[in-house]
């Protein structure tokens, strides 16, 4: 078995009496898409925040690339190679599309402490930025103000910014949310290829997408992982059916 790149070891996090993460263990291996699913309120967001570095777990550890990153903040984890996309698009809205990807390239390459040279003429940053836009199909919109993009295009831009970081791991929080059938389908095809570049931890509500894409699926219910396995195993798992899939069918 290959070494996991991202290894979440027995992390727990409580808010008062609520155990948002209860002894969660999860790993991500090279070349795979590992999907995390679970009903609303299962603690997916809390878990993502602990992986990205916004929240510190009460117990347990997050290992990334063979080192313990539990004490590192979001900035340090991004630098270590964690490429994150947000559930609600998180972009600099007044800037152009190209400026947003250049920002990512700058964060990964030169850093922000250059005061005199025009950044939008820096070829070393523009090249990877444009390449990321082409990869997600946004190159025509390079000079568009980000606030003028459609919802779906913003989701694509989120992914493009993550691409400029050349991350070791993608952490994607509901990238399909609000995309519509055609958009979802396109993004699925894209993620399918992307896993060769770096593995993806995918938190997603769209069950069709998850079952079509994921190499492995983990199911989170009430802060606990109740099952991890292939799509078929998860479908067949009676506990998952009653706790999660069943609920959806009733609804």
């Amino acid at each position: 078995m290959t070494e996991p790149i991202l290894d979440i070891r027995n992390i727990s996090k409580s808010f008062g009496a609520l155990r948002a993460s209860n002894d969660v263990s999860l790993d991500l291996r090279p070349g795979e898409i590992h999907a995390l699913i679970g009903p609303n309120g299962a603690g997916k967001s809390t878990l993502i925040k602990q992986i990205a570095g916004n929240l510190r777990p009460d117990a347990g550890a997050v290992w990334f690339n063979g080192r313990d990153v539990t004490e590192l903040d979001t900035v340090a984890r991004a630098r270590a190679g964690l490429g994150r996309t947000f559930q609600i698009s998180s972009l600099a809205m007044e800037m152009t599309v190209l400026q947003n990807v250049v920002l990512g390239a700058m964060g990964h390459r030169t850093g922000p402490f250059r005061f005199f040279r025009p950044v939008m003429k820096d070829r070393a940053l523009l090249a990877p930025a444009m390449q990321a836009l082409e990869q997600v199909g946004l190159e025509e919109f390079a000079t568009t103000r980000t606030a003028d993009l459609s919802h779906g295009q913003r989701r694509q831009l989120e992914v493009a910014v993550a691409l400029t970081l050349s991350p070791r791991v993608f952490l994607m929080d509901e990238p399909m949310a609000g995309l519509g059938a055609e958009g979802s389908h396109r993004l699925m095809g894209f993620l399918d290829e992307l896993r060769q570049q770096a593995p993806i931890l995918l938190v997603e509500h769209d069950m069709d997408a998850v079952f079509a894409l994921a190499d492995r699926i983990s199911v989170l219910v009430y802060g606990q992982i109740i099952a991890t396995g292939s799509a078929d195993e998860i479908r067949a798992n009676p506990e998952v059916r009653s706790a999660y899939l069943g609920e959806e069918e009733d609804a």
């Binding site: 900035v75 630098r79 947003n100 964060g107 005199f116 910014v161």
Partner: protein, 327 residues
Amino acid sequence: MQRETLINIIVLALLVLFPLWAWQADEPFMITLATRAVILALAGVGLNLALGLGGMVSFGHAVFFGVGGYAMGILASHAQSYEPIFEWPFLFEGSKFMPLIWLVAILSSGLAALAIGALSLRTSGVYFIMITLAFGQMFFYFTISWPAYGGEDGLSVYVRNGFPGLNTLDPIQFYGICLAILAIVLFAMSRLARSSFGLALSAARQNEERVQAVGIGVFRLRLMAFTISGAITGLAGALFADLNRFVSPVMFSWQTSGEIMIFVILGGVGRLYGPVIGAVLFIVLEHELGGLSEYWHIYLGALLLGVVLFARGGLIGVLAGREVAHD
């Protein structure tokens, strides 16, 4: 050419032509007025980096203005009395040499901004406004109660400081110095706004989470901007003190912080020439309306209210429209 660029050129041309006219017409008071506008504009350009580009609403920029002013006052007064400022660890004597005074003003106000920023930038929003205001008041009361340099009465400097090759007591020559400094700083700011640093700082204002997610620490970014911002306002303070040949605790008062902020808001927050237009307008209003009524601030208040309610982009916003993202 973009409309904003055209406006900027017109403003700069007026700043060159108006004092030349006043010089020809033998109106030294008008030159002094223009000098005041240019110096206050420089203070505003400093604040605009923190407030406009960085989104840090500092209500304590009077600190840096005052530190710059007192840097000049202390250096010059020691030069007058021939007493060194300190002898240990090295001999540091007073000076009437402008470039040295500017350097000391920039370094000391930059250092003050670094220290104040390091503490204040741990907060945000209203707390940031209040803590910067509190630092301002601290400096204000400290200078009032510090007798060594005049306390409440302030500190007079009898002869304006010197610049090699120029007669600084000639109003038009001193004006030339101030305008040259403003132009250099404006050029540097236009480059900075388009640099990596400017892009990251502006992005951090719009979306902190985004900047962190690409591996850029927001605190260091803002602290650097705040320090540069304070240093520029400090340089303006040194020039302001030289213009008046007088420094007093009033430079540290919260009204000063408020006025610097008014220049920025009137002219256009985050626009390169915003504070320049704001400061010029302020001086024009002070001169014209001040002649009509002692209570001219009422009209200023009404104008400010109008700008905040109907013209968020300030005067530049009205004239040139919404800011265009840099290409």
